[in-house]
Amino acid sequence: MSSSENKEADGSSAEESGQFRNRGFKILGLSKQDLIRIFFGGNASVAIVVLVLICVFLAREAFMFFPDHHHDLKAYRQSGQEYVDFASDEIKAHTNLYSSLNIAYFAEVNRTAKTEDTILRAYRALMANLENVTAKTWGRFERDLDRLEDVEDDLSDAKEDLEELDPEAEDFAAKQQELNQEIESLSSEQSQLTTRVEELREKLKKEVDLVIDSEEVWNMGVGAEEPPAESKAKLREAVLLSASPEIDDEPEYITGLKAVSKEKKAKAAEELSDFKDTVKAMQASIRPLKSFQSELRSIASKNKSEIVSFSTAAGRKEAWEKGAQNAATEEERQRMAAEAEKVVIKEPDYAALNQPFYESLGKHAELIAPIEVEMAQLYAQIPSKKEVQTKSAKENLDRAAVFYERFENTVSKNREEIKEWRHDKPITVPESVTAFLFGRNWISNSSWHDFYGILPIFTGSFLISIIALTVAVPFAVSAAIYVNQLAPHREQNFIKPAIEFIEAIPSVVLGFFGILVFGETLRAVSQVEWLQWVPGFPMAERLTILNAGLLLAFMAIPTIFTLTEDALNNVPQAFTENSLAMGASKLQTVFRVVVPTAVSGVLAAILLGFGRIIGETMVVLLVAGNKIKIPDFTEGLGVIAQPAHTMTGIIAQELGEVDQGSLHWRALFMVGMVLFCISLLVNFAAQKVLKKLSKI
């Protein structure tokens, strides 16, 4: 529009008008320079746009989770599943208690035959490994042996035939020749087979030797305690004996050990018979409740399917009707119309569905009261911690105490809640939100009811991050202090790029390393005798919270290191010089002047490191063990030896397999939203810390 008036503008006009105004063509009143500026500005705002889009798209899916979840919870209540789960909770609490006592009992009994069991375990491990290694050779050996037997049989048959051949028969010569040929070919095969069998026998022997001599197998079976050298030699003999192809029976040494172990255990069991009876009585006491619960469970399941079928009925009918409209043939159309007709939209009579539960109220109370009394009696009878000797038994008695308390609590809490329970009590909005934020179960694809509670995966993520931070911070900060303050220039130039280099290791490579190498190493380390004071050692699993935590610590070190180093770098030189001039030593200067001045930067570095750790996906997906359960805190710090699942890991693992728009899909987006919020919070906190604490 305004471009024409400026078209003729050139160098001469500026001098004439004496004005320094922009010339050149204009669009919408904007000159070329303005347009370029707007173009750059527009691209700069991409960052803002993307951030907003992330918020919008995550939030859209995530917040649609709550209505769906609300609906789902309503079905859970209306079908009576919630009611049945009261009893299920009691049973679960009881099972926990019972099984920890059971473990304690067996730990005590097995203690007496510890030496024998260790050797037997090693024997079994060795044999299993032996089977693996020799399977191929063994198979071939047996096949060849069978074949050899057949050939030998055939050979002797042929020889017999040759002898019995009637010399007077007319075809004697031909037959004799035929048989001779057969014998010849058979004997050549026989000799071939014999040599092969011998070869294979040699090979087997070598393989057996290989297995017996490899340290790994010994460690695997024997565990923390090494058996005496004498029994080790005997064990070796036994393994050799059972590995030899001709002998099928178990070696005497092993049979003997088994007998001794059995005898010792029987004796111990007799001494501990009171304990045993108590545990058995406990197991028996819960049975009536169990059968009661399983009866109700099937009713609730039926109710649930009825309710679900009602909630989807309208959609199904619509789909059939739509299909009928678009049907290609008349026949098809009629079939679909008939199907649509068949779908009945009728709201179930919830009161009638839940009638059996209301009726069972009295029975539940009747059942649980004697169980409670009996359990109290039985629990009083179990031996105290002083009476047991093994570490495992002591730990499990401790756990049993916790579980007993939990059982009591569950029962008394349920007693009140069951009275209050109504199938038609509305579910409030806060209730459905807390069911997500504080839900203790994340169960998907279950035949009973899907729970989406973030607590198990959140605890997993959090525990792993805490371990990673406690390990990473000392190393990263001390490395930063060393490099920035103490190291000579040459060393600085080597260490800094090297640590930056570590940051570039792809996380999937670290995860791979964790799953194939580090997990095994860590487990082997955890078996070492003098490290037994570490909580959770010895570890039974390869993929644990500790494993993931240590690898993530390694990942976070470069981040924390770089940021801490920057912060230390920003401390004015004058501070250091003044301190040194006052006669402080180098280290006094570092720890009393430089680090306190930079503390805000260090804290921010730690926070950002935390952000990086909690958002890391591949390492935890590969290494954390992926068990969706709140880690068992009754083991104290030993919790680090358990597997766990994480928020990032669960998205990566499950999102690929769920239907778009389903409740599960939305739950995963909700988890993503939580992660997003955490990352924003961490960033925000880091900035606040930098501003607030900055002393310079």
Partner: protein, 383 residues
């Protein structure tokens, strides 16, 4: 004799100005040794990881006869590995395609024991190509947006709310977990972005008819390398912006001022006397970006990557659009698959370690390149 032992300080063996061994000095020494040990422990751990992977991966990648490199490993795509044994005791180990050929050639040799090991045979050509394509798309997009953003931030912007907003957004973007970018990419690029199509999908958010049977349908690109590349680009944006900005900041103000004083317009001075000198820095930025992006798995898990694909991207494609809208295999996802999603056996090990070795060497050499470039240009360029 007596005279010789004087108090002459020059004759004393001890230096009077030497530091005295005090308790503070000793403590200093111990603490600094501890700090130093901590530092080197980190490097030792890194070295352990490298050595372990290199020592176990090298046998797959290299061979003892010319050409010394296992070319099959680099030119074939992942396949199923078959192992079997014939009745006469001969033992075979072949990729699936060779196996079928062998079966055709020897129809009457009975097989006694046969095992298949998924993803353990063949090579890593497919994943390598996929990763290269994803990285290429990503870096083109990210460099374009990142460079323009950094030019705006560094050359045009004045302090203000918009600027603060942009800086805050970039900083927060840098902290968002990669899996969240994956979710975003899935929702936005795979399921929302508008496309021109004749037959809009039912799940499309909304459809704008354009006449002539064409529609602008907001249905997304689907799972494809475009979606993956863009997702990665969004993720790596903060890194690229920071690196580009650093390179622009390093150019002295005098260059711009001199250019402007000579009468050049703003854009002329930027394009003629700033950008050419910032080029090395941008190169470093893009290498850094590639390093970051090539190793990422989580963002491409749902947006682009496939565990198995028979064809290479350029086979069976008739248009450019078709080329970019197919999913690809990618190295990190391939490693995830062979590490965690297939049953482990001794036959899977060569493929596992071989892939990890190649991938790590690739990424680490890029990282080394970016570190080298930075140090090199910082040293060389002195204004």
């Amino acid at each position: 004799m007596h005279d010789q032992v004087t108090d002459d300080p020059l004759l004393k063996t001890e230096n009077p100005f030497a530091k005295k061994a005090t308790a503070v000095g000793r403590r200093d020494k111990v603490v600094s040794i501890v700090l130093r040990a901590g530092t080197y422990f980190i490097l030792l751990c890194a070295a352990y990881i490298f050595i372990d992977i290199i020592s176990k991966g090298a046998p797959t990648v290299f061979q003892s006869s010319p050409p010394f490199i296992n070319t099959d490993f680099f030119t074939e795509s992942p396949q199923t590995l078959m192992t079997w044994e014939t009745e006469d005791g001969e033992y075979f180990k072949m990729d699936f395609s060779d196996y079928s050929q062998w079966r055709r050639d020897n129809p009457d040799r009975p097989i006694v024991e046969e095992h298949s090991h998924a993803y353990s045979g063949g090579g890593i050509f497919g994943p390598l190509v996929g990763t290269a394509l994803l990285t290429l798309i990503c870096i083109v997009v990210a460099l374009f947006v990142g460079l323009t953003t950094s030019i705006y931030l560094n050359e045009y912007s004045s302090k203000g709310r918009f600027m603060d907003g942009v800086r805050l957004a970039i900083m927060n973007l840098a902290g968002v977990p990669s899996i969240v970018f994956g979710l975003f990419g899935l929702m936005f690029f795979c399921l929302f972005v508008p496309v021109f199509t004749e037959t809009p999908l039912e799940r499309s958010f909304f459809v704008i008819p354009l006449g002539g049977g064409n529609h602008l349908s907001f249905e997304g690109w689907g799972t494809c390398m475009m979606a993956g590349g863009f997702t990665l680009a969004v993720m790596v944006l903060p890194v690229i912006i920071a690196a580009c900005e650093e390179s622009l900041k390093a150019i002295p103000m005098g260059f711009r001022e001199a250019s402007l004083a000579l009468g050049a317009t703003k854009w002329q001075s930027i394009s003629k006397s700033v950008l050419p000198y910032a080029f090395p820095g941008m190169l470093t930025a893009s290498v850094l970006g590639i390093t970051r992006v090539a190793g990422e798995t989580a963002p491409i898990m749902f947006t682009a990557a496939l565990a198995h694909k028979d064809k290479l991207p350029w086979q069976d494609v008739n248009s450019l659009g078709g080329f970019f809208s197919q999913s690809v295999q990618a190295m990190p996802y391939h490693i995830y698959t062979v590490a965690a999603r297939i049953p482990q056996s001794e036959y899977t090990k060569p493929m596992q370690y071989g892939s990890v070795f190649v991938f790590m060497v690739l990424v680490m050499s890029l990282a080394a390149l970016s570190v080298f470039l930075r140090i090199h240009y910082r040293k060389r360029v002195k204004w």
